[in-house]
Symmetry: C2
Subunit: 260 residues, 2 copies
């Protein structure tokens, strides 16, 4: 069967669904239907992809080859429970959810996890996004892998356990990093300084690690064992008790890493 014959149904038109749907269509895959309970979102994606949408589960076509559940983690089981299909492969797009949550509902199941942070309002270069595929059977995983290679240059076979670790790593470099940005913001705000002061540094830090390893890039008072500066920083941070604790523990962590 050729790629444009596989019938794909996309369930969910939020941040992930929006970009995934757009890319599937752009890459010439046969996206045949979009489902979203939120009509405005379904309509929005339908309009740019020219793919029909439905807002009720009972209208989802039963005979597609692939169903992609691009819904919130907490909605996966609910949608899976309501999805009545013939024999297609069903995958979710969640990093933090085992594919086995689909097992009670479908014979063929797996995961199709694009490792990126998506917002409908932001353009994104999809070709670079790592797609992590997994399916219960090798033949289904090969199928997902093929779909993956049509929409991205980077497709990986990643099992459920590994995907969980990957998701944890993603939490560190995305959610937790963003929290450190917030801390930077808070510190500057107290001094009535604009967050713009930090933006070029933030960007350059991320750009550097695109072709270097983090350990090659580490600098700063903790790394060089500059106790005087660390002490002074701790003093200044007394106005921010919880950040003080974080400063201490990350500094300790960097120092023990430096020894290794």
């Amino acid at each position: 069967m050729e790629k444009n014959e596989w019938k794909i149904v996309l369930l969910g038109a939020g941040n992930v669904g929006y970009h995934l749907g757009k890319q599937l269509k752009t890459c010439g895959l046969n996206l045949v239907q979009i489902f979203s309970r939120q009509e405005s979102k379904a309509q929005q994606l339908s309009a740019i992809t020219d793919v029909p949408y439905v807002t009720r589960m009972e209208y989802v076509m039963p005979n597609a080859d692939l169903y992609i559940l691009a819904v919130n983690d907490s909605a996966i089981s609910i949608v899976a429970d309501q999805l009545k299909i013939e024999h297609g492969l069903v995958v979710h797009t969640s990093g933090g959810t085992s594919s086995t949550v689909l097992q009670p509902h479908f014979q063929r199941f797996g995961a199709f996890y694009p490792l990126q942070t998506f917002s409908i309002s932001r353009k994104i270069i999809f070709d670079n996004i790592p797609i992590c595929v997994f399916a219960k059977t090798r033949i289904d995983e090969d199928f997902l892998f093929k779909i993956g290679t049509h929409i991205s240059q980077k497709v990986y076979r990643i099992g459920d356990e590994q995907r969980t670790m990957l998701h944890i790593a993603a939490v560190f470099v995305n959610n937790f990093v963003n929290h450190l940005f917030q801390i930077g913001y808070d510190i500057l705000e107290k001094e009535k300084l604009h967050f713009d002061l930090l933006r070029p540094l933030i960007l350059e830090t991320a750009l550097k690690v695109q072709d270097h390893l983090p350990k090659e890039m580490q600098t700063g008072p903790a790394r060089r064992g500059d106790v005087a500066t660390v002490e002074r920083h701790l003093q200044y941070l007394e106005a921010f008790p919880s950040y003080l604790e974080l400063y201490k523990s990350i500094t300790k962590d960097i120092q023990s890493h430096s020894i290794i």
Copy 2:
């Protein structure tokens, strides 16, 4: 006096000195001499700027208008002690050092802090880099401000205390963020997964915050109070005790932030 008449001497040809020297010259300022004890570095910067260099302090010209000490924090006092000049203004480029360390040595002193992470090997767009200037007298600060506007579009007057806070914020969004990248690396390495998997996410996280506020961007299990996922992550992190602690404290921090 016009900008190309101010005689500037740059002391230090490391990461900061290299980029600053290049930019001063590119922008038509009158960089008249480079000093570095490390001849290879002095030579390298001299070659690309076409400015003569010296490697001994006694050869530094005494009658320049501005001396920029782009040396390591720990070397500032040492260099300041050896620098014998007539009446020029002396500044260091350190975020983490009070300008008053120069007070015992010079009548006119201040700071000229480019807020960025520099590596000789990386090209950098200097025009965007925030330059934080401070001098003991208003007239000297005005002079530094003017120099700043010649090499960057963003120049700020930032006092010693404020610069310390800014430096602390920079430690959070650069050194500490880089440590979180390292944690991501370590987690993936244990699973024999390539760090490339995280790179697009890291870049997009930094790009998003260029035109959004961190609080608008926060997502993830901690933010949405997804206790089940957090618990599962903690379980999986048992192989990394120090990261487990960090996971807990940042998660707690994000949660208390979300309540505000």
